[in-house]
């Protein structure tokens, strides 16, 4: 009888093991990922994984009996989809299906079309956050999100464990289990965590690189870190609870990290925006002022392209600017590298000449702190091209030398967009970027910009050909639309060209795209080298 009782107890205990949180993915690199989850009772840990959903042939264990599981999968192949399950050495508790997978990062320096989702101050755990989430899910559809960022205030009001459960784990379970989340600490998160001791809820929940594990230079702390994804280097700073002084450890680390950076793109993010006139004022608040005065000179000298922050519950997006570290009243036209809208359909994409980190060529600063609530404000900072009191999130699509950014509101409407091009000058009239359609055929997006001072009438695309570098193999495409009419000075027109039968061309293949134009009074031809996505 006692043996039966023991068996019944054991059976009950086994049945009682459930996943209470996650699984969720952390610190993804080309060859490793950390899988984390929480169970209701303490168990050992096993992650089973493999490259096909029905065949999870590999596993990684941690024998420690715990409710907070964190297992590192290493020795993975870059840019590879892995399916996985989590559980114990005796039982699978979650996963093992098509919904539990991750894609490892590409090798450093490898261009790969990359989608990044950005949430700021999303921690309201309410219908606002759900609407912003669902708008993005509808937008991205089946297109995988390569990684996502949280810009702080991830869980209101105090960043407690239960608040994180509601605002993060219960709000984004499907995203958490398939895309690596990279967070930063906000002031509300900081009410239950301390960066100087790396303790508290935020630091308990997240596993972030301290030793340059994901690219970048070792910081020794999870409060600030960097990682590289393909040809994008991301830098996360702690604007709330770490010394922000110019001679402090964080800024010293930042200098060295940037000096070590070879990536094409550099994107920095933290919580307190250097420029804002939303629900916070960057002219009067200490954290914002110090980040502007101390971090920006280093970042801009290091060639930063985009700086993201939250804290103000609004969306504010700057021109392409450089060299402004004072009050808003001192911002002038001299600080604008490009005072246009950054839109190819408008005054043109922001163009940065260097194909890599180009010091002092300008950066775009975005406040994206309206993913959970909006709180108004003057919304009139002179550095900003646009300021919106709207719920929403940001989406970045980076494709080799091209970065397209959007602000997607909570109804799915794109309220702002801009494009940054690297390795080009504003005088380059034709730019080509490749993507793939639903059938995996190559699609060229050709941007044609009038770099002259007078209108060019009757512009038409007469010929488009994609070929190998030596021209021995080629396929012609049909541009849509062919006729562009008159293109005014500084204006950019966009043409999409599909190359049929190219679904078999592998990713990372170098080739050429030739574009011939005609217009009243002449013709123009340009051939550019491209890399297939």
């Amino acid at each position: 009888m006692s043996a039966v009782f023991v068996l019944l107890v054991a059976s009950f205990a086994a049945q009682a093991q459930t996943v209470a949180r996650g699984p969720y993915l952390q610190t993804g690199t080309p060859t490793s990922t950390v899988v984390r989850w929480r169970t209701n009772t303490a168990t050992n840990s096993r992650v089973r994984y493999g490259t096909s959903v029905g065949s999870l042939v590999s596993f990684a264990d941690d024998s420690a009996v715990t409710t907070e599981h964190a297992v590192t999968l290493s020795g993975l192949n870059p840019n590879t989809t892995y399916f996985y399950s989590v559980g114990t050495t005796a039982a699978t508790l979650a996963g093992g299906d098509a919904n539990h997978f991750f894609v490892t990062a590409p090798p450093p320096g490898t261009p790969k079309p990359t989608r990044v989702w950005i949430l700021g101050d999303s921690g309201t755990a309410d219908d606002n956050a759900r609407a912003v989430r669902d708008a993005y899910f509808n937008f991205t559809g089946a297109r995988h999100t390569d990684l996502w960022l949280m810009l702080g205030d991830n869980a209101y009001n105090d960043g407690t464990d239960s608040e994180y459960q509601a605002a993060v784990f219960d709000m984004y379970p499907t995203m958490l289990r398939k895309s690596v989340l990279w967070p930063t600490l906000g002031n509300h998160d900081g009410r239950s965590a301390a960066s100087q001791t790396q303790s508290g809820v935020y630091y308990n929940i997240f596993t972030l690189p301290r030793l340059g594990e994901a690219g970048g230079v070792a910081s020794g702390t999870e409060a600030y870190y960097s990682f590289t994804y393909g040809n994008i280097h991301f830098i996360c700073l702690d604007s709330f609870d770490t010394d922000r002084s110019a001679e402090g450890a964080m800024m010293s680390w930042l200098r060295e990290d940037l000096a070590n950076n070879t990536a094409l793109w550099t994107i920095a993010f933290w919580h307190h925006p250097p420029y804002t006139k939303g629900s916070h004022d960057s002219d009067t608040e200490t954290e914002l002022i110090e980040m502007r005065q101390n971090a920006l000179p280093i970042l801009e000298a290091g060639g930063v392209d985009l700086v993201l922050a939250g804290h103000s519950h609004s969306y504010e997006r700057s021109f392409l600017i450089d060299g402004h570290y004072g009050l808003s009243s001192t911002f002038s036209a001299a600080n604008k590298k490009d005072g246009g809208d950054g839109r190819e359909t408008g005054t043109g994409a922001y163009a940065k000449p260097t194909f890599g980190p180009g010091p002092r060529e300008g950066a775009v600063y975005a406040v994206a702190g309206s993913s959970g609530q909006i709180s108004s404000g003057a919304l009139d900072h002179p550095a900003m091209f646009i300021s919106l009191d709207r719920l929403g999130s940001m989406v970045l699509d980076v494709n080799n030398e091209r970065l397209d950014a959007k602000f997607l509101d909570n109804t799915g409407v794109t309220r702002d967009s801009f494009t940054v091009l690297k390795g080009t000058t504003p005088t380059d009239p034709v730019r080509v970027a490749l993507s793939r359609d639903a059938s995996r055929n190559l699609v060229a997006t050709i941007n044609i910009r009038n770099t002259l001072s007078s209108p060019v009438p009757n512009v038409a695309v007469t010929f488009v050909r994609a070929s190998t570098l030596d021209g021995t193999a080629f396929v012609d495409g049909v541009p849509v639309p062919q006729s562009l009419g008159t293109v005014n000075p500084g204006q950019t027109r966009t043409v999409a060209v599909t190359f049929p039968g190219t679904s078999g061309v592998p990713s990372g293949f170098s080739g050429l795209v030739r574009v011939d134009l005609s217009y009243t009074g002449g013709t123009f031809s340009d051939t550019q080298q491209v890399v297939t996505p």
Partner: protein, 290 residues
């Protein structure tokens, strides 16, 4: 992977100010600028004039705003309402330091630490106050206590301790402390660079170069470190070796892809390296003429 028992221990040692902040009554989704938040808390104080937590909360807002006088006044009121709460001395000590009164800070923090010797926040603040008072030995001891209490100390504490030890000429201890941090936290660049700075300051060039070599071996980009090697060798008067290091740095720069080489950072490094090499060549030529 950290163990969570260690984290739980860390939570217990966590600066009490965090717990206190968590315990303070918070309006839902408190926001707006500091002035508005001060106004809100003031209204709460009018409703609950004997609630010490509200004075602490407003005092912290005043402190964040740089209004030391009002912050101290609120902390004093909180202390009068709850005289047995030793934690309030931490708030008063911290604002005293920020207001430029390190002696007052040390007195208050001494009092708190006599009752709660493991208060990390008080130890850090007292260390910084002591450093300002040139009590560097005592400051270093406080940092050592902080580092011992924390499972994952911030790199800053190792650097601040090293600075204090250098100030009292305990060079070996300073370097040992930095190495302790590197061992514990990993090859953190800020600790390594400060150690090199200390070695060079003491003219221990071979030791500095050995540290630099470890950084160079790991670095994705070597040109900057090779140029630094040249600078250290030049300072050491080892001109031939310095020339070789500068030449190696220039060779690395030459090998960079055009888009990297043409950046201003690299251009400036190239220019300064060429200038340094030219100076050394001039010195060598002058010696030959003598």
């Amino acid at each position: 992977m950290r163990t969570f028992s260690a984290l739980r221990a860390a939570l217990l040692a966590l600066s009490a100010s965090v717990w206190l902040a968590v315990g303070l009554p918070q309006p839902a989704a408190a926001h707006g600028d500091i002035h508005e938040r001060i106004v809100k808390v003031t209204r709460q104080i009018k409703r609950e004039p004997k609630n010490p937590l509200l004075y602490l909360k407003r005092g912290e807002l005043h402190r964040a705003h740089g209004d030391w006088g009002r912050a101290m006044a609120d902390f004093k009121r909180a202390a009068r309402l709850k005289p047995a709460d030793a934690e309030i001395d931490f708030y008063r000590g911290r604002v005293s330091l920020e207001a430029g009164r390190p002696e007052a800070a040390v007195r208050l923090l001494d009092r708190l630490l006599a009752k709660r010797k493991d208060h990390v926040g008080a130890l850090v603040t007292r260390a910084r106050a002591r450093a300002q008072l040139n009590q560097h030995q005592a400051a270093a001891e406080d940092y050592t206590s902080v580092i011992a209490l924390l499972p994952a100390p911030a790199p800053d504490y190792y650097i601040e301790r090293a600075r204090a030890l250098v100030a009292v000429r305990r060079i070996e201890d300073a370097l040992a402390g930095l190495d302790q941090g590197i061992l514990r936290l990993g090859p953190v660049i800020t600790l390594e660079l400060f150690a090199i700075e200390v070695e060079v300051g003491e003219k221990r060039y071979d030791d500095a170069l050995a540290r630099l070599e470890r950084i160079t071996t790991r670095a994705a980009r070597r040109e900057k470190w090779l140029a630094s090697r040249g600078e250290i060798l030049a300072r050491a008067g080892r001109n031939a070796e310095a020339q070789a290091a500068f030449a190696a740095a220039l060779k690395e720069i030459d090998a960079l892809p055009p888009h990297s080489r043409q950046t201003r950072m690299v251009s400036e490094l190239e220019a300064s390296t060429r200038a340094a090499l030219a100076r050394l060549t001039t010195v060598t030529d002058e010696k030959k003429l003598q």
